[in-house]
Assembly symmetry: D2
Homo-oligomer: 251 residues x 4
């Protein structure tokens, strides 16, 4: 019997950063790059060092500091930014039952010391518009969104096909912007393993510490793998192997 | 009219770190060094970089992260660690009117983002025993202690003369420990200017962003200068020049 | 009169790193990754910091330390590795007149302090098989290879089409390896601007301080632009704008 | 039987940096500080990181980069700077037989990759007046000077007593400069252990990887201990313990 079902929802964690970036690009627009950079980060996903050295802005929207800033920017646009992310997810995968797990969010809120440290650092640089606790709470809820492999594969398909007609006002994304999100996933989507994984699988992808990896085959397909065992950089071991196998067999 | 009086109390700010270190060494003992290092810091006084790279513990008790950890350790020993620091200050300068300025403490509590960032970073490493806000509040009150130049010169005299009989149980310090505090002031007492200032004046000293500098002439005298204009590293410009002049004339 | 010709040879400089990587992958194989990493570098192209922090190996084959190591590895395989790179370039662009400019190489050899520093650092880590001066000389000659825009566009076409039949033994490259070289160009091809440029143009590309940029349109085309005016990161300003314009008009 | 004699000469290695600094201060004067800093270094003794980050100048004269720069400056003043250092050593310890060990110097010259890396880095910043190999050779000879414990204890006495009359023109040192050299030994004299050792023994001291430690008791005495077993930072283990024991018994 058993095994996990491709329809079983799991915590998408950092994969939600792709959604919040999409929402921010679609509603606020390219001006978000005044607040967040587009450089690969060579340090661990939650490192403060590069941010402190940079001083000006988080290196990219997929390190925690950058995702916190995106959540902060979206909090100036939506009363509950996490619900706006949930709605975007629902739209992209055509599944109205997507939601976040309050229990997971509450639990992570209690152990968010590292993220609070990053948020207060940004606040000390004058880079946070909203109170730290409000941003941390929204961010924890966003990370606690639950989706299944099928949901995320459908979502990936959106990025694969530049389907700009799927999104309705006020959210809308040009095909150029979609391609740019793909490039960011390729260069920054997997913490400090981004370069290594880009080399191995050669596809835009985004992993989460829940064990999921969403991958985009531009022009062709969306893929999602899920297996909770993580390597030291926080990427699913079996998931990555499966992706690599799939690519060797098909490309 | 005219000029500041040597009896006018001012905010001692980081000079209080010498007092809290003394209190910690005198009540908790040498085991504090399991939690705080004794290395000079080459970065700015509030840098998180070295701490993050070290991971194990703050570099020394005079950078903010180290002083926060000392305040944390003392909070496990005293219900109100800031009052214990006030009492030590009173004893060392024989002035029972020493206290902290609640208004200053409250104001600094509001803008303590950087220190909160450091405290949450330590908490994420499992290096903080008490809640962040409690430690930050105690620390801000400790920094808001007001003392005059005469008060601090008398305090410096304690460190100059290894007067171990001045302190009564439960606080007591060996002459070796007093000498060691002097060495720490010499090597780490003035933020990233510590090396430069050690070279220029050659004496243990501790500066605060309130404009005060307390200096120790081992075996001979205690000195305090005060002038609010600060250089880029946060050290009183006129104060440092006065100290240098004094040394050239007398040593 | 007038304007530069697309047939005018110029100094390809760092673009040669793609050629030497190709040669190393084709002759030595995947074992080169035991000696050079595949991580994007967030510091300047000639930074020693990351290498020293890493200690184990240069971050990627497109930073100078990595390219020096590749030249070192190839020097163990070819008596004159620079001539082997010249021959590969000739093959890829079907132009038997490709060669390097001895005068340029000699001049750069004199001002190669930074590269010598990197090479001696590697030697001190036991990471260099051949004498420093031998490696530096081969590397300077490799960088002094002269090719025209047409030559480099044809070369780019090889990477665009995975044309594995073009190379004959002993050099041969699988289509997977070719795709991997493309990914490295995308993630690391333009010094510390790699992430920014990947975002803007979304194509594998490699720039050189001679003002050339070679770009790959996977499955479709090879492109080369050349204009000597460089931005602070060492990338051709006009060349990059031209590439961006081309992409906006065609994709 | 035996044990080592206090009259047995050993390789003073980095202790020679105190001598070369003294010579530079005495002959070139305070202008050397335009080329070398006076900041404690928190990284290992041969780290390039801080130097690269600083860019302007080596952090202090006791890290290798700083000592190389001092050797370079002295090479502009003396045909054979190493012989000038030998002569200074002879004068300070009243022993005309002091010299350097050519075999040791030649051997270290062969394995000086790390120092060559530092020297070429400085050259790339335009911070070296003489050719790299000339500076490295002079530096290796300077480090190969052999002195006994008695020689170095006498030398330390010079720094303890500010004996400005000992030196004759053209070398002369004010008592202020002597005190400043002592402060530098205290803050930077023992690589990355400087802070820790300053705390433990509270005296200016300088260690070398030959196992010697020269220590200064200001106003009172000069001390030298020697034992080849080194800790991870390159400081003699038994020597440091002996010094600590001596201090506890006498101060």
């Amino acid at each position: 019997m058993g095994g996990r079902s491709s329809e079983e929802p799991f915590s998408i964690q950092s994969i939600s950063k792709v959604l919040s970036l999409t929402l921010a690009l679609g509603t606020i627009g390219d001006s978000i790059w005044e607040h967040v950079g587009r450089h690969p980060s060579s340090n661990a996903f939650n490192s403060l060092i590069e941010h402190e050295l940079q001083h000006s802005k988080p290196r990219n929207p997929f390190i925690n500091a950058g995702a916190l800033r995106i959540a902060d920017l979206l909090s100036g646009r939506f009363v509950q930014m996490e619900m706006a992310v949930v709605n975007l997810a629902s739209t992209l995968c055509s599944n109205p039952t997507v939601t976040y797990d309050l229990e997971v969010a509450t639990s992570e809120l209690k152990s968010a010391s590292r993220n609070r440290s990053a948020a207060y650092l940004m606040q000390s640089f004058g880079q946070l518009d909203n109170p730290v606790e409000q941003v941390i709470e929204a961010y924890c809820k966003q990370c606690a969104i639950k989706m299944s492999c099928i949901d995320l594969a459908k979502t990936a398909l959106f990025y694969a096909t530049n389907n700009e007609h799927l999104l309705k006002k006020p959210t809308s994304l040009s095909s150029l912007q979609t391609r740019q999100i793909n490039t960011l996933m390729l260069t920054c989507g997997n913490y400090e393993s981004s370069g290594e994984i880009a080399y191995r699988i050669g596809l835009p992808s985004k992993s989460g510490v829940g064990g999921g990896i969403m991958a985009v085959v531009p022009g062709h397909a969306g893929v999602c793998v899920w297996s909770p065992g993580l390597d030291r950089s926080g990427v699913s071991v079996a998931g990555l192997n499966a992706l690599e196998f799939l690519i060797q067999k098909t490309m």
